[in-house]
């Protein structure tokens, strides 16, 4: 198992925990409010945290699995070779978009230090900063970047295979 595989299985494990946390906290909040008459506003923080990390890191894995939604109109009209080149170009364009997301993520990470969570936590005498929330954007973009670099390498290799004697339609 190489580093990337280990990273991926750890990531999946963490994401599954976030998914369960989301469901469980909502359930607990409803029960606490209606059965025990004891609202738990702090649960919102756990939910926000779980959701943003789940989506941002999950988007990285979705890139690796090629699960992001697209529209394939040109695919059936192009030769295999042309499609390989197109796949490479798409991956490069996606990489550019992720670089933009990295910049946005960095900005939001910095902004997280100067903003505080609106929901107070009862056992803390101060409000926590939004770094816990905003940093998900940056780390999600980094995860996407890692997987996309791997994708670009793969599609580039495919083009090379065509150049070194692969078949075309």
């Amino acid at each position: 198992m190489n580093v990337i595989d280990r990273f991926e299985s750890t990531l999946y494990f963490v994401l599954c925990i976030f998914q369960f946390m989301l469901s469980f906290t909502i359930f607990v909040a409803v029960i606490a409010r209606y059965v025990f008459g004891f609202p738990l506003p702090e649960v919102n923080i756990v939910q926000n945290f779980s959701l943003v990390w789940l989506i941002m890191l999950g988007s990285g894995i979705a890139l690796k699995e090629k699960e992001h939604l697209d529209i394939d109109i040109l695919g059936s009209y192009l030769s295999e070779r042309a499609n390989a080149i197109r796949a490479f170009l798409i991956d490069v364009v996606v990489l550019l978009a992720i670089i933009l997301l990295l910049a946005v993520g960095y900005k939001s990470f910095l902004a997280g230090f100067s903003r505080t969570e609106l929901t107070p936590i009862r056992f803390l005498d101060h409000r926590i900063t939004l770094v816990y929330f905003n940093s998900a954007f940056l780390f999600g973009a980094i995860t996407m970047f890692i997987y996309q670099v791997i994708n670009v390498r793969k599609t580039f290799k495919k083009i090379k295979e065509f150049q070194t004697g692969g078949s075309s339609k």
Binding site: L15, F27, A29, G58, I71, G75
Partner: protein, 434 residues
Amino acid sequence: MILAGILTIFLGLLVFGVPVVFSLVLASGIPLLFDSHVHLNQMASIILQQFRSFTLLAIPLFIFCGKLLQLSDVADDLIYMSRAFIGKLRGDLAHINVMTSIFFAGISGSSVADVASLGSIIIPAMKKKGYSPEFSATLTSASATIGSIIPPSILMIVYGSIAQTSIAALFIGGIIPGVVIGLSQMVYSYFYAVKNNIGQSSGEMIGDAPVEELSIWVALKKGFFPMSIFLVIIGGILTGVFTPTEAAGIAVMYILLVNIFIKKKRNLKQYYEITKKSVIESATIFILIAVASFFSWILTYYKVMIPIINAVKGSDLSAPAFLIIVTLIYLLIGTFMEPASAMLIFVPLLMPVMNMLHINPTVAGIITVMAIRVGTVTPPYGLSTLMAAKIAQTSVVKMMRHICLFVGVYVLMLILMIYVQDIILILPNIFLGA
């Protein structure tokens, strides 16, 4: 000029095959380069704002619900229940297909899950009985659209969140239209069965008992668990005990507990695998919603809707006429785009006109969801159609005749609802008083 660049880049990248979410990121990035009033910080805060929406939190939960249900064999129970209710009606397998979709819609919220779970059981049985693979696949895909109309519906949550419309009203309002669409498909199926001289099925084809031996009592017993999920969700929302998001969380825990303690599904590995699938599906939909919110903000910032409003004002269009035009536009857009992202981009543009024409927000929401969803039955963007074609071992091209007919019937029903809006509003008026 900047706006033209945004739209050209977005459409160009989309056609080239770049995933929708990254096409949106790059297109929305244009103003960051050329407009000094748009900053990276704005992009960050608008995108992150979506992750704090309690309403949208329901999406990953309902997706998880659908996945958990796949573990609990509810598809078999719902088919049994539909068979028991349909009895010996001509074209029974087609009716069972539609009725099971109606029941399934009430618990899953995902049309593709509907096709995957039910299609693999019903399509082979329909083919065996003499229905053409094309008809069987198209009916399965078309009946799956009901999943987006009958609650819980992920698309309605997205719409409610964009248009600031009551999701409870959208949920309740979708029940009758969903049943009407189902009935229209059953009528079409009946005539198909008569025309092609297809009789009743023998029981062993899709279950363990012949039709004569099916018992309504057993059907009700089998249907208790899936129907109780629907009742928990809708009952909880209607009585005001919980919001749609909380209903989703309760439904997840309920299904999980029933799976573990009653259905005795205790293989942790299976839970891990479906959670992984659920996480990826949630991530791809949610990130799209988050990024599209910034794209939509950009379009609003450049006042794209002003020419649309002026055109409608100038043409003296009535509300129903505008809704019909919107239906056709959404149908076309839904053909090419994933419904949630299409709504995120176009709903904010058309909302001011809907408000100007005093169109009821619940009616606007349900018509929008229905129109945009039926577009996904047709290629090229038709995930459920592609899946149904794969199960039926046919091609989407061969299915086109039936697809056009089903879409035609669906649009006629939509037009009926535009003119008789009580079909949509009767339940919200009774239960929510609005």
